[in-house]
């Protein structure tokens, strides 16, 4: 017995000890492997979900594809490392994924305590509440005493606690691991309220049998700037992820789309020419080929295209650009210049 437990213990420690996180050289690792591994969610319609053929699709997946297009020249060379809210950072830090594109909020603790590198925001979000219409609830302030479904390991559960405490209300947390389990619990009436990022609510609502029987309450109780993350210790890789995101935003700003990108290569605008690799050597400075951004836009699209294809007003999620419009259109999206 004693021996058995010793052996189990050391085996477990061994597993923790030898999973060596791939350090500096992520770019070489990815190029050597020929596949980019992205930490994604386990499935959330519009953001990351396998389609009928098992191909991963969605807003977050498109950013993963954009990264693969830049790094490998082929947007399809991706592998989804699915993770729940709770396991995502462990998976990233243990080297199971190269980059995390998974509706993840940038926070102080995650940046400083969990030691992640963040690279900007690809979706400005905030936490909201969804209830059944027939409950007759019009405001989150009427939720005293309710049972609330939340996903474990998220900022959601922390915001929720703060919100109810500061407003002197009580609730019963019903903690689940994935969005699908949450939806089941909510549908069966195990909880009165489902709370998560407003984008996640739109997605969950669109997947319910009768979306119109549910309302999203007006209160947004938090700031949830969602963005990609990587490990500490590889500045080159960090730069690449940062500028992949910036390239999609800048392309929209400059009017470069997947349709016109070939023509735009000969644009008169020097920034377009630098972005697409016609002039200069920005790609090579990143350690990539010079047409890295051209590949992103050609194969995946600019930010606006990624948004509209997956979660925009013409999709079941029907999300308006809102805060996620370009700064020139009254939104918050603002990329540093390619100069």
């Amino acid at each position: 017995m004693k021996l058995k437990t010793t052996v189990t213990l050391s085996a477990a420690l061994l597993a923790l000890g030898v999973t060596s996180a791939a350090q500096a050289g992520t770019l070489e690792d990815v190029q050597g492997r020929g596949v980019l591994r992205c930490v994604t969610s386990t499935g959330i319609a519009g953001f990351a979900q396998p389609d009928a053929n098992g191909v991963w699709r969605g807003f977050d997946v498109d950013f993963c594809r954009a990264t693969a297009a830049a790094v490998l020249g082929d947007a399809n060379k991706i592998e989804a490392v699915t993770s729940t809210g709770k396991t995502r950072f462990t998976k990233l830090n243990a080297g199971e994924g190269d980059v995390l594109w998974r509706n993840t909020t940038i926070t102080f603790t995650r940046d400083v305590g969990v030691k992640l590198r963040f690279h900007g925001v690809n979706y400005y979000d905030g936490q909201g509440f969804m209830v059944r219409k027939d409950l007759g609830v019009n405001s989150a302030m009427e939720l005293d005493g309710a049972s609330v479904c939340i996903q474990t390991g998220t900022t959601t559960e922390l915001n929720l606690s703060d919100y109810f405490n500061t407003n002197g209300m009580k609730y019963e947390p019903v903690t689940i691991e994935t969005n699908d389990e949450g939806r089941q619990n909510y549908e069966s009436g195990r909880c009165d309220v489902y709370t998560t990022d407003a984008s996640g609510l739109a997605s969950t609502r669109s997947a319910l049998p009768d979306p119109d029987a549910h309302v999203v309450l007006p209160e947004i109780i938090s700031k949830e700037p969602l963005g990609p993350a990587t490990r500490h210790g590889d500045d080159q890789w960090s730069d690449i992820v940062t500028w992949v995101l910036n390239a999609t935003i800048t392309a929209e700003e400059l009017g470069v789309t997947s349709q016109n990108v070939d023509a735009m290569k000969d644009s008169k605008n020097p920034e377009v020419r630098r972005l697409l690799g016609t002039d200069g050597s920005q790609g090579e400075e990143l350690g990539l080929s010079n047409d890295w951004a051209y590949q992103i836009i050609k194969q995946v699209g600019n930010y606006g295209e990624i948004f509209e294809n997956n979660i925009g007003v013409n999709t079941p999620l029907g999300i308006a650009r809102g805060l996620n419009a370009l700064w020139t259109n009254g939104g918050l999206l603002y990329s540093p210049p390619f100069r």
Binding site: T90, N93, G145, T152, E157, D162
Partner: protein, 397 residues
């Protein structure tokens, strides 16, 4: 051991050929290897943590946890409590489901085991089918299945089923019942109960002595029950019935007042219990079958009644065979309780090894603590079972 091959001149070879010294050599090599592996792991951990810029420290345990826990029957916990307290809540929840699970699994397991031995064909087959079906489906599936059954089949809270006079309700948010409220004077009843239990112990001792000396048998069981209920009851009435009930009632979104058994606990407890019970049933059946039939016949020939034969001859001998494998079933149940996480029951894996891990990023530290806790619980269980095993061991006179 005699060296019967050609005489080895090399002293090392001679050491190796000698059984005793060979044993020592092998042990030394094994232990050195073990330490080398541990050192290698430790070194790897340090290097990897440094590469991730992480430091190894347990101070996070004193930080506020900042998350709420839906199920904390024993401790007062708020989101301002520390991660340490969250871990304690999780530990108590683990112990709660492990202990109640072991008790229920034993009762069910012994019953099923005896039913499996029934001469009634139908009873026998039903028990057989149940055992074979249940233990051949993974326990995680059982947990998830029971949980979905509860939350989809039970009525929603607004339509909760009234099980009796507005006191007991069942819904997919749990089973609600009145909780006792102690009023001044209730302590007297408590004291009376303790006194009653002590007197039962003394009475049993005395009755056994009488039986050993004179052969006279008292109906010990019924007298014990009488003492406990009688004494406690009389004091209860004399103290003016210092007990009232807090009855659950639907207010707003949920029931308020009373006690509730949550579906998460219920599903985990039921699934772990009946799954483990099926293994216990087989152990019990094997244990009873191993007591040779001649023993039963001999006792009957001595004029013992059927239940006395079981009680005095078969069960004590069967127990010796049953206890060791039973301990490993208890260990299994306890470790399987970490599957709680699948349905959101807040055990130690879900609090310390789940939310605290994620919110602080201290994977290494939390996992070491969680493993240590399970190891400690397991050692306690096997320690207790070993003690019990020694106690019932055959004492040769």
């Amino acid at each position: 051991m005699k060296d019967n091959s050609s005489q080895a001149s090399n002293p090392l070879t001679r050491l190796w050929r000698n059984q005793e010294s060979r044993g020592v050599i092998i042990q030394i090599i094994t232990i050195t290897l073990l330490f080398a592996i541990i050192a290698l792991i430790g070194r790897n951990v340090v290097i990897n943590l440094a590469a991730l810029d992480k430091e190894f420290s347990f101070t996070f345990l004193t930080w506020p946890a900042a998350y709420d826990i839906g199920f904390s029957p024993f401790l007062e916990y708020t989101s301002q409590s520390t991660h340490l307290k969250a871990a304690a809540v999780g530990l108590l929840n683990t112990l709660l489901v492990a202990i109640t699970g072991c008790i229920f699994a034993s009762i069910l397991g012994f019953t099923l085991g005896i039913l499996r031995l029934s001469k009634n064909w139908l009873v026998n087959r039903i028990a057989y089918t149940f055992v074979e079906f249940m233990r051949n489906v993974p326990v995680l599936i059982h947990i998830l299945a029971i949980y979905s059954l509860i939350i989809t089949l039970m009525p929603p809270v607004k339509k909760a089923l009234d099980l009796g006079g507005g006191q007991f309700f069942i819904s997919n948010r749990g089973f609600y019942m009145p909780s006792p409220v102690f009023e001044p004077g209730a302590w007297m009843v408590g004291v009376a109960m303790i006194v009653a239990i002590l007197s039962v112990f003394l009475f049993r001792r005395w009755a056994k002595k009488v039986q050993d000396n004179t052969g006279k048998i008292y109906p010990v069981f019924w007298i014990s029950i009488g003492i406990i209920f009688g004494l406690t009851g009389i004091v209860f009435i004399a103290a003016g019935m210092p007990l009232s009930w807090d009855v659950p009632a639907l207010k707003g979104f949920n029931f308020k007042g009373g006690m509730a058994i949550k579906p998460e606990f219920l599903a985990l407890w039921l699934a772990l219990s009946y799954y483990t019970a099926c293994f216990i049933a087989e152990i019990v059946r094997a244990g009873i079958l191993a007591v040779s039939h001649g023993q039963t016949e001999a006792s009957k020939a001595l004029g013992l009644r059927n239940n006395r034969v079981l009680q005095l001859v078969v069960i004590p001998q069967a127990l010796r065979i049953i206890i060791p494998p039973l301990s490993s079933q208890y260990l299994n149940l306890t470790k399987n309780s970490s599957l709680a996480i699948a349905i959101g029951y807040m055990d130690i894996t879900a609090t310390l090894g789940g939310i605290s891990l994620m919110q602080t990023g201290k994977e290494m530290e939390t996992m070491i603590l969680v493993m240590g806790v399970y190891l400690l619980i397991s050692l306690c269980i096997s320690g207790y079972m070993n003690w019990f095993n020694r106690r019932i061991k055959l004492t040769e006179r």
